[in-house]
């Protein structure tokens, strides 16, 4: 399988404070990559650079499906191929759940409204909230809202889905329902890059786990490599801290 996302020497700083210190990363089609690490390690910034929600230094290069990620006309094309699920859901509160899911295909892909609606209902059924289609996001629980957000991202039929701590804003009893949807999704061959604190999910679902600290990739490998035989002391101490709770 070919490389879908290629990241070369990704650097970013806020003023004089460097957040990312030159990251190199290739993600293959169909791969599920989990990015773990302490807060402030740059993991969210890393995936937000992939669809250019964050700008990055000029000498860095990111390509998605062969298209260079940079400001300009091609950026909307990249973004249409890259779905994103946010920590705080970011559903559109003034539209019904159904409209949230069907709007982007209509506006960005020029889909026919009837087709977009049929697909949206299908996706809502897949994430288990078909019966909430006519409600507004504010009437849904956090877990339900995040599942709508996943359906909204899927409606664009993206080549890759980015998850930015998708369960961090949820009540504990709702984490499971969102992770279940993501597990099912991972089984369908969608490329996924997941920034997460859910170590169980990473171990079970990831093809590759990346541990970041201080704006660098400290180590990466299979879940077994990272969780059972971590090579770096920094990885070991992080895992000790998060797994002993």
């Amino acid at each position: 399988m070919g490389t879908l996302i290629s990241i070369r020497d990704l650097r970013k700083s806020y003023g004089t404070f460097a957040v990312l210190h030159g990251i190199d990363l290739d993600i293959a089609e169909g791969e599920v990559v989990c990015v773990i690490g302490p807060s402030g390690s740059g993991k969210s910034t890393l995936i937000r650079c992939i669809n250019h929600l964050e700008g990055f230094s000029a000498e860095s290069a990111i390509t998605v499906d062969g298209i260079k990620v940079q400001p300009g006309a091609a950026l909307a094309r990249v973004r249409a191929e890259v779905g994103m699920v946010f920590q705080s859901f970011n559903l559109f509160p003034h539209m019904t759940v159904l409209r949230n899911v069907m709007l982007a295909p209509i506006r960005v892909r020029n889909a026919a409204p009837a087709e977009a609606e049929a697909k949206a209902r299908d996706l809502l059924a897949r994430v288990g909230i078909a019966e909430q289609a006519e409600k507004y996001p504010g009437q849904l629980s956090g877990g339900q809202q995040q599942r709508v957000a996943i359906a909204r991202a899927l409606a664009m039929e993206p080549k890759v889905l980015l998850f930015d701590e998708p369960t961090s804003a949820l009540d504990p009893e709702m984490v499971g329902e969102v992770l279940d949807v993501m597990k099912k999704l991972a089984g369908t061959g969608v490329t996924m890059v997941v920034v997460t604190h859910e170590m169980g999910f990473a171990r079970q679902v990831a093809d590759r786990v990346i541990f970041m600290d201080g704006g660098r990739i400290v180590e990466s490998g299979t879940p077994a490599d990272i969780f059972d035989t971590p090579r770096h002391e920094r990885t070991r101490s992080f895992l000790r801290a998060v797994l002993n709770h």
């Binding site: 909307a76 973004r79 249409a80 970011n90 559109f92 003034h94 506006r107 960005v108 664009m156």
Partner: protein, 223 residues
């Protein structure tokens, strides 16, 4: 001559009523045209300020600041009495609407800007991540949410514009106030002025009440 006969002379009021109502129509015409011009101008300025390159942003800021600082009466007199010296001759109606529209656009731009800024940043990001164009981000996502926030201050601004139409009387526009002063001169009695004041209150009181209720309603909804 007692007080009632001087200020609330029913006969004078009755005789001047048609004239006052003609004035009211003119006042409403000026108000509506100025409000629409201000709304369109303000919206364009607010959105342009968001997306324009830096020099454009600066120009819009300067425009907004200048037209919020200049007294409306001064601007109106400049437009009507000074512009003819450079060959721009506007009718009283056009002068009034120009002055009111320019100032209202500046205030409306600020109101819309505040409304757009009150929409959470995550909404812009979600729209961007889905590949929405700037135009669709604004028309589908941001403005529908911003407009809810800005309805009370926009209504307040409309009230101010309607009140400020009274300044049109200084450029010989036969608005409600001008008609009242003429009727007063004719009848040698100030009752038409009182009548005009009452008409302004009847016109604007409902709007003021609506703003109050909207503000209460919205602040409740946010909690």
């Amino acid at each position: 001559m007692n007080l009632l006969n001087t200020f609330f002379n029913l006969r004078v009021l009755w005789e001047s009523l048609p004239q006052l109502l003609w004035g009211l129509i003119t006042t409403i015409e000026i108000g509506i045209v100025s409000i629409i011009a201000g709304l369109i101008g303000g919206l364009v300025l607010a959105v342009a300020r968001l997306y324009a390159p830096a020099p454009g942003k600066l120009l819009i800021r300067i425009y907004v600041d200048i037209f919020r600082s200049i007294p409306l009466l001064v601007l109106l007199i400049v437009v009507y009495y000074a512009l003819p010296f450079v060959g721009i001759r506007l009718s009283p109606f056009a002068s009034t609407v120009t002055a009111l529209g320019l100032v209202s656009a500046a205030y409306t731009a600020e109101i819309f800007r505040a409304g757009i800024e009150a929409v959470p940043h995550g909404q812009f990001e979600a729209a961007a991540a889905l590949g929405f164009s700037n135009r669709h981000t604004m028309s589908d996502i941001i403005l529908p949410q911003a407009i809810r926030i800005v309805i009370p201050p926009l209504t307040n601004n409309c009230i101010n514009v309607l009140k400020d139409t009274a300044l049109a009387s200084v450029v010989a526009m036969p608005d409600l106030l001008k008609q009242a002063t003429q009727a007063q001169a004719l009848a040698a009695n100030p009752t038409p002025l009182i009548g005009a004041a009452l008409i302004y209150v009847i016109l604007l009181w409902p709007m003021v009440a609506v703003v109050g209720r909207l503000e209460k309603h919205l602040s409740k909804g946010r909690r």
